[in-house]
Amino acid sequence: MAAPLSVEVEFGGGAELLFDGIKKHQVTLPGQEEPWDIRNLLVWIKKNLLKERPELFIQGDSVRPGILVLINDADWELLGELDYQLQDQDSVLFISTLHGG
């Protein structure tokens, strides 16, 4: 049983274009049976925030390759990736690396 959580979801590197161009989103995740991990956050984002072209952000149950995920400014690879359990006031940043340099 997961309590409601207040988290900041941020998009950068061009990923924000899929979210109406808005970079920072303050979201309240409702209390639910399932834990609020990144896996479930992605499902929530797809359902509630993603405005277009879901395949450019999500692939399977994870992010599309080329999208970096930082949780509180730390690489999600150090934190268990999809299994990381979100805490209240966490900040999750999705940066696309896919646009030209």
Binding site: P65, L68, D73, A74, D75, D90, G100, G101
Partner: protein, 325 residues
């Protein structure tokens, strides 16, 4: 080295896991390591000797933004001076915002800044190509022109090029490609790529931790470009095998062609003097095609080694070509 915290605890401040080594570093340490590696690339390859005046091709994008930031931090160490050069391809909307980002960088970092416009170099190029090559192939041809005249800063960008050359059967390019840069022969400007070995993930993270302002929208013609398909394939390969990016470039550099596939010894373009394996270099040949109303001149050789020319387009505008280099 950082201990890896369990999934349920908060992370230490700004931390990164480097793709090649799997090493975990704090953000500031990562940026220092990244900068040190670029310095090593420059020193080991003798790319920028003391006294060099360095013009960085700045698109406003992440690679050139990071390159300028790193080089700026190394200016005293290397004894070089730095300038920004941006190219305005005339792609409406997209390029204006990107150039604005470069202008901000030039102002913030107090660097001399020059803009070269395709309009001035090759009158009326990009959008004119779009106008006169109608139909579903239009975007592809437009990207062909731009791709011929641009250069990448990073291996991860050049390795897409390597993959594209494989897919197009362009043995000549594969044989010529690779290397950290060209020393500059026959009056051509010497070029180098200090970011040759930098990974895309690390460039983005460096820019993030250093709070660098870069432009990251997609070129309006990109969705239909062939390059995108090659990039997608490479991204999926990289997810399965992180070293795929550099290994591909490594393979291409070590490719030995069969005698029948070897390109002719390069001479000089009869128009601009650049290195060319035929009478005209690719850039002049492209512009020639536009001039003579044959904008669908296809780049490269077909499988049978023949130049592929589709058909005359009588509605093509009269484009003048005045290549500057």
């Amino acid at each position: 080295p950082l201990p890896v915290p369990p999934a349920t605890l908060h992370a230490p401040p700004s931390a990164v896991r480097r793709p090649r080594s799997g090493q975990a570093l704090y953000g500031a340490c990562f940026c220092a390591a990244f900068k040190a590696e670029v310095l090593h690339t420059v020193l080991a390859g003798r790319l920028l000797p003391p006294g060099t005046v360095v013009a960085v091709g700045a698109s406003g994008g992440k690679d050139s933004t990071v390159l300028v930031h790193v080089l700026r931090a190394l200016v005293l160490r290397l004894g070089i001076s730095l300038q920004l050069v941006a190219v305005d391809e005339g792609i409406g909307g997209y390029r204006d915002a990107a150039l604005a980002a470069v202008r901000r960088q030039a102002a913030r970092w107090d660097l001399p800044f020059t803009i070269l416009a395709y309009e001035d170099l090759f009158r009326g190029l990009t959008d004119a190509v779009v106008r006169c090559t109608a139909g579903s192939s239009r975007s592809r041809y437009c990207c062909t022109f731009c791709g011929e005249l641009r250069r990448a800063h990073r291996a991860g960008a050049t390795d897409i090029t390597v993959l594209m050359n494989f897919l197009r059967g362009d043995a000549g390019r594969l044989a010529r490609g690779g290397g950290l840069g060209s020393p500059g022969e026959r009056g051509a400007l010497p070029r180098c790529r200090p970011l040759q070995f930098a990974l895309q993930k690390e460039v983005v993270l460096y820019a993030h931790f250093r709070r660098l302002d870069y432009f990251s929208e997609e070129c309006v013609y990109a969705p239909e470009a062939f390059r995108g398909h090659a990039r997608d394939l490479l991204k999926r390969l990289e997810a399965a095998r992180p070293s795929a990016v550099l290994d591909l470039v490594h393979s291409a550099e070590r490719l030995a062609l069969a005698p029948s596939a070897r390109p002719p010894r390069p001479g000089a373009c009869s128009r601009c003097g650049a290195l060319a394996s035929r009478a005209l270099c690719q850039a002049c040949a492209l512009l020639d095609g536009l001039n003579r109303g044959r904008p669908r001149l296809t780049i490269g050789k077909g499988r049978r080694g023949l130049d592929e020319i589709c058909f005359c387009d009588p509605s093509a505008p009269n484009i003048t070509s005045q290549p500057a280099f």
